[in-house]
C-alpha cells in the first residue's frame, strides 16, 4: 500500500463574486520512503498542492472534491483534532522562508519542545534532550545553547537547518518541503538540499519537494510531477522526465536551464506568462505559449495519457516526440 494516495483532488478559491479552481483533478501516489518532486512556474499550484496535503489551505481556499489517503485514511474529510494529530507528527512541513517561519518571540527550545509535547507525553527535559539530538543530526554546533536563543540571533541557513530538525522531531512518514532553499543564499542552498536528502534517505522518510528548479529535482527525487495552471501535465520517473521530456512545457523548462545554453547565448525562455486562475484558456492551458499547438489544442482539453513510462497531458505528444530527436541526443 502506498503511503499517500491522492486522487482527483480539486481545490477551489471562493472569491467575492466567483469561484476559481486552483487545482484540477490532481492524482498521484507516493510509496513509503519515496521522494517526489513537484515542479512548475510560480502560480502553477505547487504550494497549494502541498498545503492541501496538510489540509492547511488558507481561508478562501477549500478542497472541493477528491481524496487524499494518507496511510489509508482520508485527510480531506478529517476534522481539526484528527488533523492536528497528523500535522507535525506523521507529516511535517518545511516552509519557504526560514526568516519568517519561526516565531520571533519564542526561543528555539520552546518551539521545538511544544512540537514534541503536542504529540507525545513528555516532560520539558525529555523533550529538550530529543531536540538536542535532532539539532545534532542537522549539524548545528553547540545545540544546547541554541535552545535558549531566539530566531533573530541565527542566520537564515541555520534557521532552515533548525526547521529541518523540527520536521524530523517526531520521525514523520512524510516531509513536505515547499521551496526550502529559495530564500537562502546560493552558497548554502546546495548544503541544505544535501542535508535534506541525506536525512530522508537515512531515516527512510518520504519527501515531497516543491520547487521550480528542475536541477534540484533531478538530484533529489525519484519521481516528478510537472504542474501547469493547476494541472499535472507530466508525471513519471525523474530520470526519464529530465532525459526525455514529453510535454512541450517540460521541454521548455529544461531548455530554459542555464546548463542547456552555451556560454554567451541567450537563455531559452518559454515565451509569455502562465495564465492567471481567472483566465485559463478553454483548450490546453499551455496552448497560447506552445509552439506545437494546433487548432485542436485550443478547443479541447487534453487528458493525461500513458506514453512510454510517463503520463502526459498533450494531444500532440506523438508528433512532438518525432520532431525532437536532437534533444534526446543532447541529454
Amino acid at each position: 500500500m502506498s503511503l499517500l494516495s491522492v486522487s482527483d483532488l480539486t481545490v477551489k478559491f471562493a472569491m467575492r463574486d466567483q469561484t476559481v479552481t486552483a487545482l484540477h483533478d490532481i492524482s498521484f501516489d507516493l510509496a513509503k520512503g519515496e521522494r517526489l518532486g513537484i515542479v512548475g512556474e510560480s502560480g502553477a499550484g505547487k504550494s497549494i498542492t502541498g498545503f492541501s496535503l496538510m489540509n492547511l489551505l488558507s481561508k478562501p481556499g477549500y478542497i472541493d472534491s477528491g481524496k487524499i489517503l494518507f496511510e489509508g485514511q482520508d485527510i480531506a474529510g478529517m476534522n481539526d483534532a484528527q488533523m492536528r494529530g497528523i500535522r507535525g507528527n506523521k507529516m511535517a512541513m518545511i516552509f519557504q522562508d526560514p526568516m519568517v517561519t519561526l516565531n520571533p518571540v519564542l526561543t528555539i527550545g520552546q518551539q521545538m519542545v511544544e512540537t514534541l509535547q503536542a504529540h507525545r507525553k513528555l516532560s520539558r527535559d525529555e523533550a529538550e534532550q530529543i531536540a538536542i539530538v535532532k539539532l545534532r543530526e542537522v549539524y548545528i554546533p553547540s545545540p544546547e545553547e541554541r535552545l535558549n536563543q531566539y530566531p533573530h540571533e541565527l542566520s537564515g541557513g541555520m534557521r532552515q537547518r533548525i526547521i529541518i530538525a523540527m520536521a524530523l522531531l517526531l520521525n514523520p512518514q512524510l516531509i513536505i518541503a515547499d521551496e526550502p532553499t529559495t530564500a537562502l543564499d546560493v552558497t548554502i542552498q546546495a548544503d541544505i538540499m544535501e542535508l535534506l536528502l541525506e536525512l530522508c534517505q537515512s531515516n527512510k522518510v518520504g519527501l515531497i519537494l516543491i520547487t521550480h528548479d528542475l536541477g534540484v529535482v533531478s538530484q533529489m527525487t525519484e519521481r516528478t510531477l510537472v504542474m501547469y495552471a493547476g494541472r499535472i501535465v507530466e508525471a513519471g520517473r525523474t530520470r526519464e522526465i529530465i532525459n526525455d521530456p514529453q510535454h512541450p512545457y517540460t521541454q521548455g523548462l529544461i531548455n530554459a536551464l542555464p546548463q542547456q545554453t552555451l556560454p554567451g547565448h541567450r537563455l531559452k525562455q518559454i515565451p509569455g506568462n502562465m495564465p492567471s486562475l481567472t483566465s485559463i484558456p478553454v483548450g490546453c492551458p499551455f496552448s497560447p505559449r506552445c509552439s506545437y499547438a494546433v487548432d485542436h489544442c485550443r478547443t479541447t482539453r487534453p487528458e493525461p495519457i500513458s506514453y512510454g513510462t510517463v503520463r502526459v497531458a498533450c494531444h500532440e505528444v506523438n508528433r512532438l516526440h518525432n520532431d525532437t530527436p536532437d534533444q534526446e541526443k543532447q541529454a
Partner: protein, 326 residues
C-alpha cells in the same frame, strides 16, 4: 543595557529641561508675584526695591537657574489660592487621580485583550460584529459626553450611583486616601472610571483586533498549525505575544491622552484630583499651581514613557537593549 538606560535618562532629562523652561516662561509672564505679596497700595519705589530683593530684575537665565534650583529641591512655588507649597497641593490631589486612572486601566486592560482577541479569532460571528459596532460608537462619543450621559442615566434618572466626589475614603498613608476600601468609595469611583476608559477601551479593542488578525495571517502562525499545535496555544502564546508588542508602544503614547482625559472626567464628576484642581487653578490664574501641575505631569509622562520603553525592550527579544544604547 546600562548604556541604554543612560541614553534614556539623558533623553528624559532633556525633555524635563524643555518642560521646566516652558514652565518658567509661563511663571515669568503670567501674573505679578508682587501684587500677590503686597497688593496695589504700595508706591512704585518700594515696589522696585522689593523687585530687587526678590531678584525679579535679574536676567532671564539667572532667574531660571534659581527657579530650577528651587524646583530640584521640591520647591515649585506657593499657590496663591491655597497659600501652601504648590507641590504639596498637587501631591494631596495626586492619589485621587491615580486611583481613577487605576480603575480605568483595569477596565481597559481587563476587557480590551479578551474582546480584541475574540473579535480577531471569530471576525464574522454576530458577537464580534456587535463588539465592533459598539467600539466605533465608543470612539465617537467624547469622554465628557459619556460622563454626562452616565450621570443623567445612573444618577439623575435611576438614582443608583452618586454623580460627584469621592465619597467615603479611607486613609492609607501620607496623602493617600483610598476609594477601594468602602462600598461607598467603590460606588463613587465606578462611573468616573468607566467614563475615563470609554474612549480608550474601544481604541484598544480595535488595535488588538487589527494586530492579532495580521499576526494570525503570518507565516509563523501557519507553521505552528503545520506542527499540529493546539489552537489555544497558537492564539495565546504564538499570536498574542506578538500582538501585544505594538500594543505596548501605543499604550505608552496613550498615557498622555489619559492624563488629558482625567481633566475632563474629573471636571464632570467634580472628582477632587489634580485634573479638576488644574482647571480651577487656571480659572483663578493661580500661576505657581499651574506651573507645578505642568512639571509634575511632565515628570509622570517622562517616567511612564521610559518604563514602557524598558518593558517593551525586555518583552521583545528582537530589541537588544545593550545595542540600542550604542
Amino acid at each position: 543595557m546600562l548604556a541604554y538606560l543612560v541614553k534614556r535618562l539623558f533623553q528624559a532629562i532633556a525633555v524635563m529641561f524643555v518642560i521646566s523652561v516652558i514652565g518658567f516662561a509661563i511663571q515669568d509672564n503670567l501674573g505679578d508675584p508682587l501684587r500677590e505679596l503686597v497688593g496695589q497700595s504700595v508706591s512704585e519705589e518700594v515696589r522696585q526695591q522689593l523687585r530687587d530683593e526678590l531678584g525679579l530684575n535679574d536676567s532671564f537665565a539667572k532667574q531660571y537657574l534659581r527657579f530650577l534650583g528651587n524646583a530640584l529641591q521640591g520647591d515649585l512655588g506657593t499657590s496663591y489660592f491655597f497659600k501652601e507649597p504648590a507641590l504639596d497641593v498637587i501631591l494631596k490631589k495626586l492619589p485621587a487621580t491615580l486611583e481613577l486612572v487605576l480603575g480605568a486601566t483595569i477596565i481597559i486592560v481587563g476587557l480590551s485583550v479578551p474582546l480584541g482577541v475574540y473579535t480577531a479569532i471569530k471576525p464574522n460571528s454576530i458577537i464580534s460584529r456587535i463588539i465592533m459596532g459598539l467600539s466605533i460608537i465608543g470612539i465617537s462619543i467624547p469622554v465628557f459626553l459619556t460622563a454626562i450621559l452616565m450621570i443623567f442615566v445612573f444618577s439623575v434618572e435611576l438614582g443608583w450611583l452618586p454623580s460627584f466626589g469621592r465619597g467615603d475614603v479611607v486613609h492609607v498613608w501620607g496623602y493617600w486616601d483610598t476609594n477601594f476600601a468602602t462600598l461607598d468609595g467603590w460606588e463613587h469611583i465606578l462611573l468616573p472610571s468607566i467614563a475615563l476608559a470609554s474612549i480608550m477601551l474601544p481604541l484598544f479593542v480595535r488595535l488588538i483586533r487589527a494586530e492579532m488578525m495580521e499576526v494570525l495571517e503570518s507565516e509563523y502562525v501557519k507553521y505552528a498549525k503545520a506542527k499540529g499545535i493546539h489552537p489555544g496555544r497558537i492564539y495565546f502564546v504564538h499570536a498574542l505575544k506578538n500582538t501585544l508588542l505594538p500594543v505596548i508602544t501605543v499604550g505608552g503614547v496613550q498615557i498622555g491622552t489619559m492624563v488629558a482625559y482625567t481633566i475632563l472626567t474629573e471636571t464632570v464628576f467634580q472628582w477632587p484630583g489634580m485634573g479638576f484642581m488644574f482647571l480651577e487653578a487656571i480659572n483663578r490664574v493661580d500661576t505657581p499651581l499651574v506651573v507645578a501641575y505642568l512639571i509634575v505631569v511632565g515628570f509622570i509622562f517622562v517616567v511612564t514613557n521610559t518604563i514602557v520603553d524598558l518593558i517593551y525592550g525586555l518583552v521583545n527579544p528582537t530589541v537588544n537593549l545593550a545595542r540600542m544604547g550604542a
